[in-house]
Amino acid sequence: MNKISSFDVERIRKDFPIFSEKVHGKRLTFLDSGASAQKPKVVLDAVQDAYTKTYANVHRGVHHLSQLSTELYEGARKTICAHMNASSVDEIIFTKNATEAFNLVAQSYGQLALKPGDEILLSYLEHHSNIVPWQLIAERTGATVKAVPIDSNGEFLMEEYLKLLSPKTKIVAVTHISNAIGTIVPVKEVIKAAHDKGIPVLIDGSQAMPHMKVDVQELDADFYVFTGHKVFAPTGVGVLYAKNEWLEKMPPYQGGGDMINRVTFEKTTYATGHSKFEAGTPPIVQAIGLGAAIDYVNSIGFDAIAAHEQSLLAYATEELTKLNSVRIIGQAKNKAAIISFEMEGVHPHDIGTIVDQAGVAIRVGHHCAQPLMDFFDVPSTARASFALYNNTDDVDALVGSLKMVQEFFG
């Protein structure tokens, strides 16, 4: 059966127990999945089962539960490897979140490759988590951070990017999708251009993973980072995909158990592949939950998810545009279902408080993207971010609650 025609948002909403909850006595309108997504029952069940039926530490001991737990944890790695089309499970590293993955690459790759005068190339669309780790390693190594500008629609400026790529550039680190304004960056072209000059590229896929199928080999990304909790998995687990050639060269990020081959006080040798970068007891159950979440989105299919979300984006954009006081910030041609906006004469915080009383959850603030806010000359925006479980009722509730804001401040 064609997956698109079988997409039924009302059935999907039933997979998420949270939607039977009320907020201030109202129907929950959850438009904050860009900050963190809700969890389907299959993920909650996988977590519950992992704790109640198979729980033990992994990679340790020979007892029955340890084996079961290890199989499930490594099974999740295989699921993610297949989902991202990595060439080997050795290239899939579990971290605690995307932030830890950025810090891992910045510190470890930075130690390997950065010298005074080298350049790290980011973009104005980046989340703080793909800025600050690079500033830390830049300070330590004497490298400098540069950023690719955007235009007033929030488009990544490819021509400017090509100009900024220089012999000094030692790594490019850009987002796949802007968390604040939804711009989809043409990362395949970004990667190709950098590779033509022998520069490796890291992609922040935190916002991309819930909305699109990512094939790291097709993109030819050197590093691809995402966090679990935005793709319907528990908090506490993230993923770093890294090409094996880099993992072999990069020094360990953290030392501890599990990442070693042999330890003596004189000299320690390290494990290889993903193990070299997974020190200590990993987020076992969270990773199992992430595997279940990836299976869940694949059971629906990304063609269907993307089509559904794009139709919601179009509807929401149209409805919001009808409200004269609303200005949408970020109008890139290719956008994910994320809409940042401001309202004339009303601060985003006041918008957030008022719509919340109508059961509408949106994010207000700088979205951990202050350089981007500075570019648009706003301290903050209101942001509605959509996921596969949202429907047109959610858009209508948002628009209705914004009319309430207009009444208060009109």
Binding site: H347, P348, H349, D350, T353, G365, M373, P379, S380, F409
Partner: protein, 151 residues
């Protein structure tokens, strides 16, 4: 639902937020401080001239912020003008209790009565920092700290 919102966004607050009193820069001034709320990125500057006997003779503020932070700063500027620093500190202590505690025992004071319009913030704990940002900045200015954040 509308009751809580109407309690929060009373006419006085909307009026002060749209038409803030004492809005601007005081240059030169004897004391100033920059207040910053990292949660929302709002900024607020307080400028004042302290006269003999620690009396706040002039006070102005500027910045960008939500209705609550702008209204609170505007009301504060009206109320502390002409007060001593000790009186201003006492008002802040009482105001802080007013917006955070259910059973706050407050001074009987006409100025404090004017601040009761902000008591609705108590129902919205995430917004308390908006209401207190200007007061924190005032304290920083009086204490000679030029920067303050609400975190």
């Amino acid at each position: 639902m509308m009751d809580d919102l109407k309690e929060l966004y009373q006419e006085v607050i909307l009026d002060h937020s749209k038409h803030p009193r004492n809005f601007g820069k005081l240059d030169p001034c004897s004391h100033e401080a920059h207040g910053y709320n990292p949660l929302c990125g709002d900024t607020l500057n307080v400028f004042l001239n302290l006269g003999p006997d620690n009396v706040i003779q002039e006070i102005l503020f500027d910045g960008k912020g939500c209705a609550i932070s702008m209204a609170s700063a505007s009301l504060m500027s009206e109320i502390v003008k002409g007060k001593t620093t000790a009186q201003a500190n006492l008002l802040f202590d009482n105001f802080h209790d007013l917006v955070t505690k259910d059973d706050a025992i407050l001074l009987e004071d006409d100025d404090l009565d004017r601040l009761v319009v902000l008591a609705g913030v108590k129902q919205f704990p995430m917004r308390v920092k908006c209401a207190t940002l200007s007061w924190h900045a005032l304290q920083s200015a009086l204490n000679g700290n030029n920067d303050t954040t609400t975190e």
